[in-house]
Subunit: 111 residues, 2 copies
Amino acid sequence: MSERELRRNLAILPIGTVRELTLLTDRQIRYYEQNNLISPNRGKGGQRRFSLNDVDRLLEIKDFLDAGDSIRDIQEILAKQQRKALEKHDSESALRRSLQKEFAQIGRFGR
Amino acid sequence: MSERELRRNLAILPIGTVRELTLLTDRQIRYYEQNNLISPNRGKGGQRRFSLNDVDRLLEIKDFLDAGDSIRDIQEILAKQQRKALEKHDSESALRRSLQKEFAQIGRFGR
DNA sequence: ATTTAATGTTAGAAAAGCTGACATTTATTT
DNA sequence: AAATAAATGTCAGCTTTTCTAACATTAAAT
C-alpha cells in the first residue's frame, strides 16, 4: 500500500469530529456501522477511531441515501466497489511483475 | 490558501490521538501550548482540537528539544520560520501580480 | 547551592463516548 | 387500511477522555 493510502487509513478521528465533518448524527454513524457499511477501529478504551477513508465513505453513503438507495442497496454497491478495487489492484500487481521480468531480461543482455 | 493547506489546518484531532502520533505526553503538549509553540483550536466543550499542522509542528519541536534547544530557542526558531514563510508568500503574491500584468499587456496587443 | 526549565503526578470536575432500550416517522407490503 | 419494516430520535446509566490547577521531581544553568 502506498504511503498515502496508509495515511488515509490511520484511525485518528473520534466520532465527534466525524459528526462535524459529515453532518451525520452519532446515531446514523453507529447504525451504518451495525450494518457493516463502515468498520472504524477502536481505541484503547473502546471508543471508535475513524480514518479519513471512513469519512469519505460516510459522505458517499449519505449521497446514496439521499439518492433513494436503501442500506441494503448500499451494502451491495460498496461490495461491488470493493471487488473492482481488488481486481484493479491485482491487475496492477501483475503488470508490475511482468514489467519487472522484462527489465530483468533487458538488464541481462545489456552488459 | 490552497485546498491542501486548508485541510492541513482543520482542527480535527483530540489530544489522545496526538499523543499517540507524536509519542509526547499530554503534559508536554499542554506545556508547549502554554509557551505558545502551538495554538490548537478548541471544540464546543473546550477540548483541544489539533490540526495535522499542529502534529507536524510538535514533531519538529520534539526534534529541536532532542537536539538540545530550549523552549525559548524554539520560540525564536519558529518565529523566524513564520517570518520566512510570510516573506515567501508575499514574494509569490508579488510575482503572481506582476505576471498577471504582463499577460494583460500581451493580451492587449494580441488582438 | 540555588534557581530555573521541563516533565511527572494527582485530584476533582466536565465533556464526550458507549450500549441498549424504547419511541417516532416514513415507506413497503399484505 | 392495517401491519410490518427501515431509518432515525431520544434517553438513561456507565465508562473513558480531557480539562485545569496544584504540588513534586529531575536535571541543567547560574
